[in-house]
């Protein structure tokens, strides 16, 4: 790492934004992505936002903020990418954007309130999120694509299920 990269790291943010489906690992992604926003514009649901963090390294890169709009896995963005920052994926089941984690301390079913919001809306229905004892939602990490629909629909004010970027 050069001094210049370190300097940039300081002004840029260094955290782990959720990338559109098919994204390669974060380090390579930042080199491959030319910040052209074509994935942003092709997205029919405006799921993909743009990182606006000044003149940092990640500035201008696409990001998904599930609480606002999750990825609905229409798979339109990977073929749109002019570089190979987004690898072409056709099957939504193959996406590995991130992995959902449940906070059992605030998740309603774990407190005796029946809620099936994340389970019902999971696009990998009955596979990525299963209901333990038909009551408690549990994430099957191998199947979870990280689309963030669960985080989006969680009725809790602060979501009890959050998607964390998967680093390969």
């Amino acid at each position: 790492m050069s001094w210049f990269e370190k300097f940039l790291n300081k002004v840029a943010d260094y955290r782990q934004p959720l990338r559109p489906p098919g994204a390669i690992n974060e380090k390579d992604f930042l080199q491959h992505c030319i910040r052209c926003r074509r994935c942003v514009e092709i997205c029919p649901y405006q799921s993909i936002k743009v990182v606006k963090s000044g003149l940092g390294k990640k500035s201008g890169t696409p990001v998904i903020i599930p609480r606002q709009v999750p990825c609905y896995l229409c798979m339109k963005c990977p073929p749109e990418c002019p570089t190979d920052a987004l690898q072409p994926i056709v099957q939504k089941e193959q996406v590995r954007m991130g992995v959902a984690k449940i906070n059992q301390d605030t998740c309603l079913p774990y407190m005796g309130i029946i809620c099936r919001a994340c389970y019902e809306r999971c696009p990998i229905y009955t596979e990525a999120i299963i209901l333990k004892d038909e009551i408690y939602p549990v994430v099957v990490e191998e199947k979870c694509v990280g689309c963030g629909i669960c985080e989006n629909v969680c009725p809790n004010e602060e979501p009890s299920i959050v998607v964390i970027k998967r680093e390969s």
């Binding site: 990269e5 491959h32 743009v50």
Partner: protein
């Protein structure tokens, strides 16, 4: 070269402003179309897709190659049309498409000042600038020229504003460059610093579109500054001087101006090299520079 072709060319240059404005409107139309989920066009001047035809800014293809050391066919396809245009016409992109240039020219009109000096073109400096940008990219480790590539920056500013309704700090770069460049530094950006132009000019074919000066027809002042063509040039060049490239971006303004005087300036494809002394000289000069670089 037939008459028809030259007529078409002159028509093209006469309608330059219209094309420029169209290019700016195009940037506004793309996000609007995409808001309606009409996926005919996406992108901006970093990378553009019109129906199924891809365009990529060669600068970004270059950065991609430098950073990833991977060859990408899709990118190669994308840069082929821009490079073909650059090959035949030089920095036509700058004069016809680049929205930054349009803004700068408009700003120049608002701030009318008589030109007091012109720039001498030093071809070596252009190499230095381009190599400088390349080195910066490699050190930074990401496509850092994203911030300084004005046509794209304006595109993403408009796109983000219309499509996502957000504005970032990096968009202030446009204002900063515009202010410094037009108000203080006499269009140094477009003429010398812009990495897009610097790269595109590298592909300009020697027999491509160029400004030709015929001294015999010239009826104006011999003074460098006072010539109408010099006063007209948006980037502070003397069209009658030599060398003109790689600084000139073939906007044709000087030719239009000269039309009212002696038609000493013409923009055309060079057919017979011996007829046009300046260009011949320039070519020779470039060859020597190339040798030196090697």
């Amino acid at each position: 070269m037939g008459l028809k072709k030259s007529k078409m060319l002159s028509l093209l240059f006469r309608k330059r402003r219209l094309i420029q404005i169209g290019s700016l409107i195009f940037l506004i139309v793309i996000p609007l179309l995409n808001l309606l989920n009409l996926e005919v066009v996406t992108g901006n001047y970093y990378s553009l897709r019109i129906w199924k035809i891809e365009f990529v800014d060669p600068l970004f293809a270059l950065q991609h190659l430098l950073l990833t050391l991977k060859f990408n066919w899709q990118l190669l396809m994308g840069i082929s049309i821009p490079l073909l245009i650059a090959f035949l016409g030089g920095k036509l992109f700058c004069s016809f498409i680049c929205p930054y240039n349009l803004l700068a020219e408009w700003l120049q009109k608002i701030l009318p000042a008589k030109k007091t000096n012109v720039f001498k073109v030093n071809a070596k400096r252009y190499w230095a600038v381009l190599i400088g940008w390349i080195i910066l990219t490699v050190i930074a480790g990401f496509p850092i020229l994203y911030f300084v590539s004005m046509p794209g920056q304006i595109g993403v500013f408009l796109g983000d504003l219309i499509f996502l309704k957000v504005m970032g700090v990096e968009s202030l770069m446009i204002l900063a460059v515009l202010g410094i460049d037009v108000v203080f530094l006499k269009r140094i950006w477009c003429r010398e610093l812009c990495p897009v132009g610097a790269l595109l000019q590298r592909f300009h074919w020697n027999y491509g579109l160029k400004i030709n000066y015929n001294e015999i027809d010239c009826v104006c002042s011999t003074d460098e500054i006072d010539s109408p063509c010099v006063q007209r040039c948006p980037v502070y060049l003397n069209p009658k001087s030599d060398p003109l490239y790689p600084a000139c971006f073939n906007c044709g303004e000087c030719v239009k101006e000269c039309y009212y005087y002696g038609e000493a300036l013409k923009i055309k494809f060079i057919k017979d090299i011996t007829n046009f002394e300046p260009n011949f000289k320039q070519r020779k000069e470039e060859q020597t520079i190339n040798k030196e670089e090697a």
